[in-house]
């Protein structure tokens, strides 16, 4: 017994569980051993038992009334086969429920059959177990009526059950509960799972049989609980087999690669060792090893790319990312085993791919933290903008598999945020092969960090050698030397952020406990290949506030926390207001690109109609406030409360506000109350306190229900979710949450997400939720920001003047050789989705300005190295076709030949479903220098450059922090709010961090 870990303390909930006889297996043995040699624990156990006895006794004294005779008689009659409706609606209820459950069963079976047809994967066993569970008595009831599980009303449940075909999986998913949560989430992505993912699945599936493994967590039995007991063995067996297969195929794939092979193996072993180590210190050590290994991985693609390697890039990249996630996972685990936190399994999916090389015991340790997998999504995955067809979309199975990583990453925040927002979850079941365009910019991530670090160093004044310009085939050791050298140059390896910053691209995804979806920066695209650039508008500003938080704390932000468009859009710009019926104005401007003088910077500016305070629409707001324990610090719940106080003062008699809180349980703190009753509202706001753990799902449900009940037609109907994003207890399945939100958005209730807090920020989750709910996402880092978001911009934040606003720019190939969209990486959409009005996109609120910048390479301008390595791959057949195509196409002439590009904007009125479209051409004219552009343009250029420097972009050209600083200072303008002043301050801070 003494061999067991004995690091319990007296405040361990497991001690209570032990004292009450509710601890099982090895945990009990461990606890027993520990208690045996700790007298104070023995006293505690005695006290717990005494208290429990007291409580039991007191509760036993409560009278427990029996049923009335006639009720017993009704039951007896039923037993004897007679149908006697009891008092109330008993019989009617039962029958209707039976009907519902029949429908649900039928739906389940349909879905099941459908899935089976689509994929004969052994994972179907899992699905079938779910179906069985559906059909099992009682479960239909639990699913249909259990509010804690985030369940819809029966009407809704029935309705969704009726449309199994239209949205596979969505029929039952909103009804998901904690107990079957795993099974469900699992089946959702299971069907198209790439090998790497199967590992994770196998881990999940294996959980039931390994639940007895001594893992110090109560979570284990819980996670396994949902899987149907009957099918355990066959389930695990089948998946293990499948696992074996995919492992072999991966292995085969690995060994066919000459270069990365050895390292891959090493990494794989380290990865699995790390997995096995769970939360031990050894696990930590391996994390470090992984980082260095990944460093190589990060470099390899860069070299390979230059050598025109293709599919390997897709391959290596996710692996590097995965090992990062895997490395981080144990850390999470150690911290979270019992804290009620369940996010720890993030990242397992990818190492799984590698574990294939050294198969680990079937998933035993990968599941200990019964968490939702929040794996790092593959950079080559859906985060990759769908750009032109230039990409070397390799048809090899491997590329296919890694390309399919997106489906794995649908588990992850990245999946959704990265994908064109409109891709419905049903897309999970579609062809996992990467779109031609998807691959195009994937490789850029691989060599990214070199440039990243280099740019950063350059930006902060380091002008040393540039190892990456060296095109010779570097050896590993040289890479290592260079990398470590750069590390030591940064000189702050003990600082986690700098450390991580310089250690490859993947580590940004999970910073401490903060999660960011990786951003693969847009690359230059040749307009002859990809003349259309399409994206959904983004009016979010959360990234800037988050970046500010880091800089003000003296740290450089994680790379993926820097979203260029959100930084640019944070500020106010004085575009001309709209005229006529169009809810916004559009403007196009060109100037010389300040960081690459031979290029041009094209600005797309959109300004939404202002709405007067007086004519503001009546609003129906429901605040959904996270009051879990993690919200206690001053920068969280107290900040939200301050913001609510400010907002309350702005409300009038046309407004209604309600407050729903959620933690372990959800409740209505304030029923929808008229804005004129400020005192009442304020007293409730005061009374909000933090405590408990978070379960976002049911709270969101309540909030939407309240908003719908008080729906104001033609008014503003909005749920405002304030949270640190830590949806990590129990029944929350991010996919379901998203489905729910997307569903509710259709009813006209939109979502605003206010993120707060540091260190635990689930940036990715929150942005994704806001995206799905036709909403926006702001990060509150200060009272000032709270005022800005909730008061100053209340109208903009709350009054949507146009929704699903999409932008498409068509470049004229006779004028524009190549172009690059700055930012909007996670908003990029396929060109054909522009006019697909079923695809949703960002909304624009009253008074908002939205800006998008393009860096354009005019025809005739020399391509820089940054563009060159993005040059199209050599194709044997395509060129001929292209020549033919070119010849057949009429030359652009006349008026058109003078046009640089044309901007198309497509949008819907807030309540409308019909899309309208604008078309604005931009004439080519003598290019002016940026110094002569308007101050907004200049300021935007400085913000863009700053963002690129922070991101370590390889496109930042000659930009330096000094240039940013001087440009921003010169374009500060009136700056009534002081935001630009603050930006300048941030630039200075960034300069001082070295």
């Amino acid at each position: 017994m003494t061999a067991y870990e004995t690091n319990f303390d007296l405040d361990d909930p497991r001690l209570t569980a032990y004292a009450l006889g509710d601890l099982d297996g090895d945990e009990r043995l461990q606890m027993e051993a520990w208690v045996a040699c700790h007298p104070e624990a023995q006293r505690a156990v005695a006290e717990i038992r005494a208290a429990a006895g007291e409580l039991t006794e007191a509760l036993a004294a409560e009278p427990a009334p029996a049923l009335r005779d006639q009720q017993r008689a009704a039951i007896e009659a039923r037993l004897q086969g007679k149908v006697i409706p009891g008092p109330g609606s008993a019989a009617g209820w039962s029958r209707r429920r039976t009907l519902t459950s029949v429908i649900l069963m039928a739906a389940s079976m349909l879905i099941f059959v459908g899935f089976y047809e689509m994929s004969k994967s052994p994972r179907m066993t899992l699905r079938s177990s779910v179906a069985l569970e559906d059909a099992s008595p009682g479960s239909d009831d639990r699913r249909a009526a259990k509010p804690a599980g985030g369940v819809l009303s029966d009407e809704l449940a029935a309705a969704s059950a009726k449309e199994p075909g239209s949205a596979p999986g969505s029929g039952e998913a909103p009804n998901d509960e904690g107990d079957v949560g795993f099974a469900y989430s699992d089946h959702v992505e299971a069907e198209t799972a790439p090998p790497a993912d199967r590992k994770l699945r196998a881990g999940l599936a294996a959980a039931p049989s390994t639940a007895k493994v001594p893992v110090p967590s109560l979570n284990v039995p819980e996670s396994s609980f949902g899987l149907t007991k009957k099918d355990e063995s066959s389930l695990t067996g089948a998946t293990a087999q499948q696992e074996q297969k995919s492992a072999e195929s991966i292995k085969a794939r690995f060994s066919s690669e000459s270069e990365g092979d050895r390292k891959q193996q090493k990494l794989g072993q380290a990865g699995s060792a790390g997995d096995q180590d769970g939360g031990t210190k050894k696990g930590e050590a391996i994390v470090e090893t992984l980082r260095f290994d990944s460093l190589f991985e990060g470099d390899i693609p860069a070299e390979k790319r230059k050598a025109e390697a293709k599919s390997e890039l897709y391959y290596v990249e996710p692996v590097a990312g995965g090992s990062g996630g895997g490395g981080a996972a144990p850390r999470e685990t150690s911290k979270d085993t019992f804290g009620g936190r369940t996010g720890g399994t993030r990242g397992i999916s990818a190492p799984g791919g590698k574990n294939g090389a050294a198969p680990s015991p079937p998933g035993t340790k990968e599941v200990p933290v019964a968490g939702r997998p929040v794996g790092p999504s593959s950079p080559g995955g859906p985060t990759t903008p769908a750009v032109g067809p230039a990409g070397p979309a390799s048809p090899s199975p491997t590329a296919g598999a890694t390309g399919a990583q997106p489906s794995g990453s649908l588990l992850t925040p990245g999946g959704f945020r990265g994908a064109p927002p409109a891709i419905p979850p049903a897309g999970l079941f579609t062809d996992p092969a990467p779109k031609p365009g998807n691959g195009a910019s994937a490789p850029s991530a691989g060599g990214f960090f070199d440039e990243n670090t280099e740019r950063l160093l350059k930006a902060v004044g380091y002008t040393g050698g540039n190892p990456n310009k060296d095109k010779s085939t570097d050896t590993e050791s040289k890479d290592l030397f260079d990398s470590t050298n750069r590390l030591s140059i940064l000189g702050r390896t003990n600082n986690v952020f700098d450390d991580e910053r310089s250690l490859g691209m993947w580590r940004d995804r999970i910073v401490g406990t903060e999660t960011y979806t990786p951003i693969v920066e847009n690359s230059f695209l040749r307009s002859i290949d990809a003349p259309l650039s399409t994206f959904g508008l983004d009016v979010d500003t959360a990234s800037y506030a988050n970046v500010r938080r880091f800089l003000q704390a003296g740290q450089l932000p994680p790379r993926d926390a820097v979203r260029l468009e959100e930084m640019i859009n944070y500020f106010r710009y004085s575009y001309a207001p709209p005229k006529g019926n169009v809810p916004f104005s559009t403007a196009l401007d060109v100037a010389a690109c300040p960081w690459q003088p031979s290029h041009r910077l094209v600005r797309v500016g959109i300004k939404a109609r202002e709405v007067d305070v007086e004519t503001r629409k009546p609003s129906n707001l429901v605040f959904l406030v996270d009051v879990s324990g993690s919200m206690q610090p001053d920068d969280r719940l107290p900040l939200v409360k301050q913001g609510l106080r400010l907002l309350t003062k702005e409300l009038g008699e046309n407004d209604n506000i309600g407050i729903v809180t959620y933690a372990g349980t959800s409740g209505v703190a304030l029923p929808s109350t008229n804005g004129s009753r400020a005192a009442e509202i304020l007293s409730v706001v005061e009374s909000l306190t933090a405590g408990g753990s978070t379960n976002g799902a049911s709270g969101i449900q309540l909030a939407y229900e309240m908003a719908q009940r008080h729906f104001i037609t033609g008014g503003v109907n909005r749920v405002i979710l304030a949270t640190d994003g830590d949806f990590n207890v129990g029944t929350t399945n991010p996919d379901d949450l998203e489905k729910l939100i997307a569903e509710k958005a259709k009813s006209g209730v939109f979502l605003t997400v206010l993120g707060v807090g540091r260190g635990n920020l689930k940036d990715a989750t929150m942005e994704r939720l806001a995206d799905r709910g036709n909403g926006n996402f702001s990060y509150l880092d200060s009272l000032r920001e709270a005022r800005r978001v909730l008061v100053e911009q209340m109208h903009g934040t709350l009054v949507t003047v146009a929704k699903d606003v999409k932008v498409q720019v068509e470049f004229n190939p006779t004028k524009v050789a190549a172009y690059r969209l700055l930012g909007y990486e996670n908003r990029t959409m396929a060109a054909e989705d522009f006019r697909n009005d079923a695809k949703d996109a960002g909304d624009i609120g009253a008074g908002h300005t939205v800006t998008a910048l393009y860096e354009v390479v005019p025809v005739g301008a020399a391509l820089t190295s940054a563009e060159e390595d993005r040059a199209p791959v050599k194709l044997k057949y395509a060129p001929a076709v292209r020549e033919e195509y070119k010849a057949a196409e009429p030359k652009v002439g006349g008026e058109l030949s003078n046009e640089l590009l044309t901007l198309f904007v497509r949008y819907k009125q807030p309540e409308g479903e019909k899309a309208e479209e604008l078309e604005i051409p931009l004439k080519d004219s003598a290019v002016q220098s940026i110094e002569k552009a308007d101050i907004d343009f200049r300021f935007q250029a400085s913000v863009a450059a700053f963002g690129m420097l922070l991101r370590g972009s390889r496109h930042s050209g000659s930009a330096t922090l000094d240039w940013v600083l001087s440009t921003a200072e010169a374009s500060k303008g009136e700056d009534r709010d002081g935001w630009r002043r603050e930006f300048i301050d941030l630039v200075m801070r960034a300069k001082s961090i070295r």
Binding site: E54, L55, G664
Partner: protein
């Protein structure tokens, strides 16, 4: 009346065993003893339609889950039908607690503990009751309430902890988990 048919027998046994406990439990949720009785009746009528082999291995869990869902369902409908003040059915506002304990005379110490219990959050109260009044296991409670086992463990732990420290501090009964 001694029906020899085993199918009926097990349901009758379940009725004997759980009738009162479930009524008490439902009463806590719906706040009205008659409504609670109806809920329990419905629960047992539903049990009559179940396959014994599927339900019996986790009978308590099944009964409490069905009863709870039905109770919450009914509570929601009741409130809607009678157009009571907005949202009162939701946890956090119209706590049905108090009714039984206030209505009955209990020993003084027990009364104090019950009053203390009433000061807790709905969640915590329910979990503590399920554990110490209805003798469900952690796992069963998790199943019934939809909470996680971890969460249940935590709620019970903090509840018991607060009760232990209550001896000295009779003042603030609320438990505030960290």
């Amino acid at each position: 009346m001694n029906d020899p048919e085993p199918r009926d027998h097990w349901i009758r046994a379940a009725l004997e065993r759980f009738e009162r406990r479930l009524t008490l439990y439902a009463w806590r949720i719906v706040g009205d003893i008659e409504v609670a009785r109806d809920v329990v009746q419905d629960t047992f009528l539903k049990l009559c339609d179940q396959e014994r082999a599927l339900v019996e291995p986790h009978l308590a869990e099944w009964l409490y889950t069905v009863c709870r869902n039905r109770a919450i369902d009914v509570r929601r409908r009741e409130r809607r039908r009678t157009e009571m003040k907005d949202d009162q059915w939701l946890e956090g506002s119209a706590a049905p607690g108090g009714a039984p304990s206030a209505a009955v005379e209990v020993r003084e110490e027990a009364g104090r503990i019950l009053r203390w219990l009433d000061g807790l959050t709905d969640n915590q109260r329910e979990v503590l009751r399920l554990r110490f009044q209805h003798s469900l296991s952690y796992r069963e409670i998790a199943e019934v309430t939809g909470l996680t086992v971890t969460n249940v463990g935590f709620l019970i732990h903090t509840g018991i902890k607060a009760l232990r420290s209550r001896a000295g501090v009779a003042g603030d009964p609320t438990v505030r988990p960290a």
